[in-house]
Symmetry: D2
Subunit: 342 residues, 4 copies
């Protein structure tokens, strides 16, 4: 079986496990108040060229999204995002659970939000009988693997500033976005263009963990209390600092992402050569082949994957995802298997 | 330095790390839908003699408390607990964040709630202009190390049934409660006397994780959605199943707890012999010596601990906590050091 | 000036004021626990042929919508409605403020939801990573004046039952819906086809007040506490019972509605004869003419109205609303004025 | 029967009804955007000597309390109040429903909070694992009729400023507080010493309505949206402006209060002369006699009242409340009746 089910379907990268093992016998102060987290936060501020940033470690993506959004907003304020945004369709209403409406825009197949989407909501909400849009949520990479260019992110950032909106970037797959051939952004660019974003660990080599970078000083006060209130403080908090240190101190995070993207791109290219169309030409570590329904049972015998949705009466869009744990042999093996099948 | 700061101030038990390491190379389905979690849930049902129970793995204690409580209650319902209860004083209003009022009762130094406390709130809330008490929250062990006897838990359970109240037991330190000399309860007793409870992993050998046992079938539907909504679903959910399997399959969980309790009791006995009084005679792994303020700087040189509060003008209550990682040498060493100091 | 701004832009019907004046000197028990409310609730149960119904009086529509919805749902459940539904677009996220996501469907110009819309959401939400649809919200009349037929409401009701969904009907303008020529429903039909609905007072002759009829017994327990928790209990609660008694005891409510509809229909017919198209052919007391932008300043000199939205580059949709206080002279006068203008 | 049940157990003052009747035929813009509300807000700003204040009309007290508190706080912030505070014991957890914890202090029989209570909570909450106190809630008059002096309110105000706390005053019975012989505060004093407060209409002559005065400009933005989100915007909003105009333009509000206080004081003095002790010596319009239980059935034959609670094994504390509608004859009549009974 070739595994392409998900990038959170394996444990952590061996180097991360090694780092966790190395500190396992130590006695450390809890709740992230330790030296490992402090040191790693410094490292992140440095790599982001954002000395003023507050770095907060949380356990998972949904948790990071709603904790940050609810911490940043006043009760009557709402969130603009793509209708395909993770907070809108995969988190059981976690943002609404904190009392905030999501204003979703239909976007293109690449999942990217544009200033036009934002302006449209701002104009629709001038009436005081509706919520006040205050935060724009985007993901890089998007849910369908899309990547924002520096020009695009700059335009979004300027549009947000012009409309008194905060810009929040969900970086659950930020590693693969930055490692993509379609990318021209750096961590420092993202830090300078957003109010807050996170560097996703869970989907890029960590056991668990997301590093939230709150760039805008106005959004920083009391965040620990908010995190605790939402159950988002890990008791053994240093485990997160240790993992991110292992990932970031010598570029492992980006090497993992580069490998994941390379494997996904090889698979995408190979499948296209075999005549299999894609829902969207993804430049990152998720790809979305559209396959004949008859092929599905055959595929299930050779690899793991997820069904993304019906494409038409006879076809289904599926998703293959790669990770640090995807060997070249899996890509080659799957391509060979598909070649036989089609 | 002798470490008595907390039972979540060390990594996981070596056997748990071994189990995590063993599965690290595998590809597993996410979100706790995997075979490890399923198998471990079976084991827990078996050990609890509760075949009907739903077992849900969550990451931390605060998260487990408010997710369960909010899942079980209707909006106008409230929670009865001891004023020293963890949900009342250590979780930044996480229960209130879900919209529910906490009705707290002043309890004795042992932190235990009694039927009289419950009845008092029930009577005070007959008026429809106040919340309706619907759930009783207790901890075993309590915040000050107290342990419920079978007679006490039975009385609470009967009082709850008589008043149409749910009984929820926070088991963050359940291991040490069950391992205590003061205990006569089994896991199966707890399962039969409560509507839901959890077996705490974080403070008894796991890296992280709490196993919530929802015994009452009425409270089980849709719990996964609730968990996801609260950010309490770990993406690599099998990591929790694997840890609890390692802890529970051959009694490691109870051996860890027995050791922790033994160390704490040895320390408590020793300190009392040295003339140091206790806030309360704790039968578990937390002890609460009352020390002269002048002793504090000296103690800080030899061991880690937490300040619990002022006892009187010249004395402070401190807390020593033991864990799987507390060697006998630490207990003996600290006692020797204190002997010199007093 | 001819007044067509809104049906809540006048005080109450003279008969309602008379009833309020008649009881003003009395001493009455507060919070709706009085004999006026009890008697009026009986009357409503009788007129609805729903002896099991719980009748609750609330002050306004937004309040009634979110209080009922939040009382009926569990935290992870969501609401299906038309994208034009009042709860989705005119209540500043009041439903989301209670923690529930709204799943909105694009509907036709008449604002009516169909079983197909419902089924589509049910199918989209089978995945446990999204909210569970549990309640369908419709309005009769709709936001654009549409009216459900008995066949349509029956189909919705059956679809809801088949999918374990509650059906809630916002009756802010129920009077005009029932008085419409397009209607074949009775109060009793609505009571038998929904789980809960309300008879709107504010927009049909009352000073304020909505009579919520909770037909489904499962939804009735503890509603007073929920109402109080949401600030929806009027201290001098009998004022609501007195008003609804005056409106319902001899058919005043329906005479007011019939008059309102008659006036609006006369205006709609007249405007169409003058060549002015409508956004939708409304059978109730709101009509939606599409007028050249150049006409707006002229219209503002002769009547009050609201701007509904841009129709195209040179045209604007406006809204005229009639009420008990709309004299025939206003309709004739406005038509004469428009005739001169076009 | 002599009526002493409550100050919200009668309709409105005849002058208020007259004012409502006078405008009943007019067509007015809704939601409080009308000229009546604007003019009345000006009047209130003038009487409060607070030209910068934002005046918002709401329907009831519970609604005003939680809407204001939730608008002013960030999610992790909490409210300090007396344990007898209305928000703590009479509003079904409405503040907690907005996600905020209430920190309640045991206070004296007069219901008054002191700086010592505040400081105690501030000190108890320095730890980041508990909520951050941010707002102090007091009532004037208190739940047991107590009145703050200027010195006391100044001390509270200074304590709040020194601890970065907002001061919010529930003025449901502000009229009677200001009319009390124990009072030395003016509306302008209250405006200068608090961040927000409200002038209660419901309990002092209005049909319904509370006028919230948001003195602190930082708390003013977007309040209308918050009000709408909480269902607290009356559609026919001018009805509130009209009532407060009638009450405030020529001092009617204060004459009503003076009468109420005079009647209650006469009753309190008379009862004391008859040997009936009071729970507390109340200087306002609520008094709290402690009567033998045997007297209760007799009292019920001659007057309405509320039971406040058991005083001891054989005695019960009851509450008599006076209002604009309490004639001197009721006081004299009740005293005569009690004289016969004791």
């Amino acid at each position: 079986m070739y595994n392409f089910r998900n990038d959170y379907s394996e444990g952590c990268h061996p180097k991360v496990l090694e780092a966790l093992t190395a500190v396992n016998g130590e006695s450390v102060i809890g709740y992230g108040q330790d030296a490992y987290c402090a040191k790693c936060a410094d490292l992140i501020r440095e790599q982001c060229k954002a000395p003023q940033a507050d770095v907060q470690f949380l356990v998972g993506g949904t948790q990071t999204n709603f904790t940050a959004i609810a911490a940043f907003l006043r009760p009557w304020e709402s969130v603009i995002c793509a209708s395909t945004g993770h907070i809108n369709g995969h988190e059981v209403g976690a943002v609404e659970a904190t009392g905030h409406k999501i204003l979703s825009s239909q976007v293109g197949a690449d999942g990217k939000l544009t200033p036009a989407h934002i302006v449209s909501w701002v104009e629709a909400c001038r009436d005081e009988h509706v919520t006040k849009p205050r935060l724009v949520y985007i993901s890089d990479a998007t849910e369908t693997g899309g990547v924002y260019t520096k020009a695009e992110l700059t335009a979004l950032s300027e549009c947000c500033k012009a409309n008194n909106l905060l810009l929040f970037l969900d970086g659950a797959r930020l590693g693969c976005a930055l490692a993509s051939g379609a990318n021209d952004l750096t961590l420092a660019d993202i830090a300078s263009l957003t109010d807050a974003f996170y560097i996703g660990g869970t989907k890029n080599g960590a056991m668990m963990g997301e590093a939230l970078v709150i760039v805008n000083p106005d959004l920083q006060p009391d965040f620990f209390r908010m995190k605790k209130r939402e159950g988002a403080v890990l008791a053994k908090g240093w485990l997160l600092g240790v993992q991110f240190q292992a990932l970031l101190e010598d570029g492992l995070y980006f090497r993992i992402a580069a490998h994941s993207v390379e494997m996904a791109q090889a698979l995408q290219t190979g499948l296209k050569e075999l005549g299999i169309p894609m829902l969207v030409d993804s430049p990152t570590n998720q790809i979305f082949p559209i396959v004949p329904d008859a092929l599905l049972p055959e595929l299930e015998k050779v690899c793991t994957f997820e069904v993304w949705g019906k494409a038409d009466a006879g076809h289904t869009t599926i998703r293959f995802v790669t990770s640090f744990a995807t060997p070249r042999e899996s890509v080659d093996g799957l391509l060979a298997a598909v070649k036989k099948l089609v």
